[in-house]
């Protein structure tokens, strides 16, 4: 039971930090709506439904990137990784706690983005919403792991997109094409791999 309570404590800490700083979530909300607006002008009228949906996915991936870049900033700047590693908590709990927090921010941004998309462009079918939910899982699991890597580097804002975008390509394909089974497969494989690999990314021992 303690693993779940560790994850809960860590995730609550992140939500509390965000509530206090109020930086990540507002910027993600504004970013996704601004991106959709720009895409509206980027699309000649009468474009196909698939094109519009493709742009929704582009907007979601970059919005998620915004949240992921901020994910470990507190831990890195105040060297809190040391504090967390010193506790007897399993290192993967740190990853899962952070992934859940980023997932919450992403869903909050999507609660605004999807209706906006439906209003701006064509309607939204249930399949796309399901695909978005499944994609969020993949984005947050892999993105959180790569966020922890990027934050250890010097140019972290530059590094994270480079590390993460190639991994996001299959997610976009699965999302735009609506292959829900493929997204489930992607989530299962990479969530497990991220869960196992996180320990090596945060601690040297």
């Amino acid at each position: 039971m303690t693993y779940a309570s560790d994850v809960a404590a860590l995730a609550r800490k992140d939500l509390l930090l965000e509530l206090r700083a109020k930086e990540t979530l507002p910027s993600m909300l504004l970013f996704v709506v601004a991106a959709l607006t720009i895409f509206h002008f980027a699309l000649p009228n009468g474009t196909s439904d698939v094109a519009a949906r493709g742009l929704l996915w582009a907007a979601l991936i970059f919005t998620a990137l915004l949240g992921l870049t901020r994910a470990f900033v507190a831990e890195r700047e105040q060297s809190m990784f040391d504090a967390l590693i010193l506790t007897p908590v399993d290192r993967s709990a740190i990853w899962l706690g952070k992934a859940l927090a980023v997932f919450a921010f992403l869903v909050a941004a999507e609660v605004v983005a999807l209706p906006a998309f439906a209003a701006f462009f064509h309607g939204l079918n249930g399949r796309t919403v399901a695909a978005v939910a499944l994609a969020d899982v993949g984005i947050c699991t892999v993105g959180t792991l790569f966020g922890a890597m990027a934050v250890a580097g010097r140019a972290r804002e530059l590094l994270l997109p480079l590390l993460f975008l190639p991994m996001a390509i299959p997610i976009v394909v699965g999302g735009v094409g609506g292959f829900l089974w493929f997204l489930v497969l992607y989530d299962a494989i990479f969530a497990l791999l991220s869960w196992a690999a996180f320990e090596y990314v945060v601690s040297e021992v």
């Binding site: 560790d6 800490k13 930090l17 507190a74 506790t87 007897p88 908590v89 021992v205």
Partner: protein, 190 residues
């Protein structure tokens, strides 16, 4: 009990320290002296299990018995002392957290500011909160890196009192006079 044989650490090409042998029995007090940048901090990080030695054997006690305080207080600046200590209390799985947190904050004179954000604190107050965090889970091994550095007068006096408690100590400092009398082992870094 902390034991090391021919411990070495390098960053890329730069050799931080090598051939370090240590034997700190339970209740012992190892004083690590040497100028800044001579590798004291890195050695303490290795002994705390935060960094991997490049070579050598190392015997460390289990993680929950280790308390480490470096130059940073290792607390979340946007949270309050109470929130910080509650979080770490839960992560260290302490049963009756509330009492212990209250007692520590009281002892280090932080009780009145327990609901204010750490970012509003002076450097001395932050370091005292760092000491609270280190002592929270009652570690039997305490690793302190330049503990007097950022402490104010009141904090320094409190710290003197702590050194008398029966624990295994490893203290790194470039002004060893204050803890000279307790030291049972010494390690001087060039």
């Amino acid at each position: 009990m902390i034991q090391a044989r021919a411990l070495a650490k390098r960053f890329g090409d730069r050799r931080v320290f090598a051939g370090v042998d240590l034997d700190v029995p339970d209740g012992g007090f190892l004083l690590v002296t040497g100028p800044n940048g001579s590798g004291k901090t890195t050695l303490l990080r290795v002994l705390a299990g935060l960094a991997a030695p490049t070579a050598g054997e190392l015997q460390l006690p289990p993680r929950h018995t280790i308390g480490y305080l470096g130059h940073e207080p290792l607390v979340y600046r946007e949270l309050t002392p109470l929130e910080n200590l509650t979080l770490f209390g839960r992560l260290y799985r302490l049963p009756e957290r509330g009492e212990r947190i209250g007692m520590l904050l009281e002892r280090f004179g932080l009780w009145d500011v327990r609901h204010e954000r750490v970012s509003t604190f002076s450097r001395g107050m932050q370091q005292r909160l760092g000491l609270c965090r280190v002592l929270l889970h009652e570690p039997t091994h305490l690793l302190l890196d330049e503990p007097y550095n950022a402490l104010d007068a009141e904090g320094a006096m409190l710290l003197d009192g702590i050194f008398d408690e029966p624990r295994t100590w490893v203290v790194a400092t470039h002004e060893p006079e204050r803890v000279e009398r307790q030291a049972t082992e010494r390690l001087a870094f060039a």
